[in-house]
Symmetry: C2
Subunit: 259 residues, 2 copies
């Protein structure tokens, strides 16, 4: 299995603190050491740092921990290989273009015997169940909305349908974003926290490190952090319910907006 980390904010924010704790799980405080990756959206642009080395020793991860990249939509992943060998082409997050936007996807779980016969748009480059599932999701969205990105509610309902179908095959926790919306699906385990004024200090579980967000934020900032398991031990994280597809926008979960 693997672990997921996501961030969605109303103003570009760096993820150095959360990534510090998260990346320790890639070989130090946990065993997810078969590669890692992180995607940052900067407006419509997107850059992804990947490495098949464990995140605790990767020089690229060292850069990401120390170089503050400000982004509103971040998706990170540390890998414990289940399907597909340890190689760059199997590192998450994966990225494709749809409707003139980049879409980025990372998966925690396992989809045994998952097969995706491409309908002509997207093909997996690597050999993970995860990338195949991502291709199927985008292909489904593309077929349903050939003219371009639909209003969020329409998009959500189709995405939920295909997600539910895939989730019947196996464990399918995921993060998905196009830099505008941020989708999170919980199959078994995924939690989030929203940080906003009044800010406080937070202490990592995986490293003895504390950050006082009062010193780093303004009154109107709002940041949602989503992770497989909580990253801090002095804050209350909210579990996403199994079977729930939750959308974040501007650092806030849009709960019950589409029922």
């Amino acid at each position: 299995m693997c672990q997921l980390l996501g961030m969605n904010c109303n103003v570009p924010t760096d993820i150095c603190f959360s990534f510090e704790g998260f990346s320790a799980r890639g070989g130090k405080t946990d065993h997810h050491s078969d590669g890692w990756g992180i995607a940052f959206f900067e407006e419509k642009g997107c850059r992804i740092f990947l490495d098949s080395q464990p995140s605790v020793i990767s020089p690229v991860a060292e850069l990401v921990r120390n170089f503050p990249i400000h982004s509103t939509h971040v998706i990170a992943h540390i890998r414990k290989a289940t399907q597909g060998e340890i190689a760059l082409h199997n590192c998450h997050p994966f990225r494709r273009e749809l409707w003139g936007r980049y879409w980025v996807f990372a998966h925690n779980g396992n989809l045994p015997d998952f097969r995706h016969h491409s309908m002509g748009f997207y093909q997996a480059v690597g050999n993970t169940d995860s990338e195949k599932a991502f291709c199927l999701m985008l292909e489904t969205l593309r077929k349903c909305f050939p003219q371009g990105k639909p209003p969020l509610k329409e998009l959500y309902l189709i995405l939920r349908k295909i997600t539910q179908e895939i989730a019947q095959i196996g464990v399918f926790n995921y993060l998905l974003s196009d830099g505008e919306h941020f989708f999170t699906h919980c199959s078994t385990k995924l939690s989030y926290i929203v940080r906003q004024a009044p800010f406080a200090a937070a202490h990592l579980i995986d490293q003895d490190m504390t950050v006082d967000f009062r010193e780093l934020t303004t009154e109107s900032d709002r940041v949602a952090v989503i992770a497989t398991t909580p990253l801090t031990d002095n804050e209350v994280w909210t579990p996403i319910q199994p079977g729930e597809l939750l959308v974040f926008q501007d650092g806030w979960p849009l709960k019950h907006a589409f029922d």
Copy 2:
């Protein structure tokens, strides 16, 4: 305009030496300081480092200069913006998936008033002429070969045809690769050098730095380096002829193979 740097080898090789000189042109020895990027293929996998900061001050470029990534197909670009604002979504190289492989593209030149109306597969995310041209090229290949990647000669002939059409619009020097083949097109300015045994020392033009390749190579290594203008001052670089689409494989130009 911009500058291009490419590398194609028969064994995975790092590009630290060439990138040291090349990246100096992004704000120090030349004025291509509107962002940069570099793509490394590692088998079918591909990772791209991008930054909209000048390459001489970018912490990500610093990582690329110092962290040896071994790759057989590398495409790098430093940008002097002509079309499209300075932003991450306009930084080259661009990447899309076709036939279950990643394709990477970087362009030097300018295509005034270039328009590409997507035929349904690929859309530009940013607003450069370069990304639109890339989308058109991939879309053309996809339409011509819907079943998958054809033999190299068939691919070459179609690629040359669409390249010639686009090159009528403006300056269209480019590097294109899928991690298997490495295509270079010269519209006005592009040179290459093939380094192989007996190896010698090379001295950069843009930095006072020398590397003795005898100490770093084995007898059977072969490395082609392609650049807008030569990177070294003690080696003989071969200009690619204007109008020529040259394919490299295993560090060697396949000249006249497709006529």
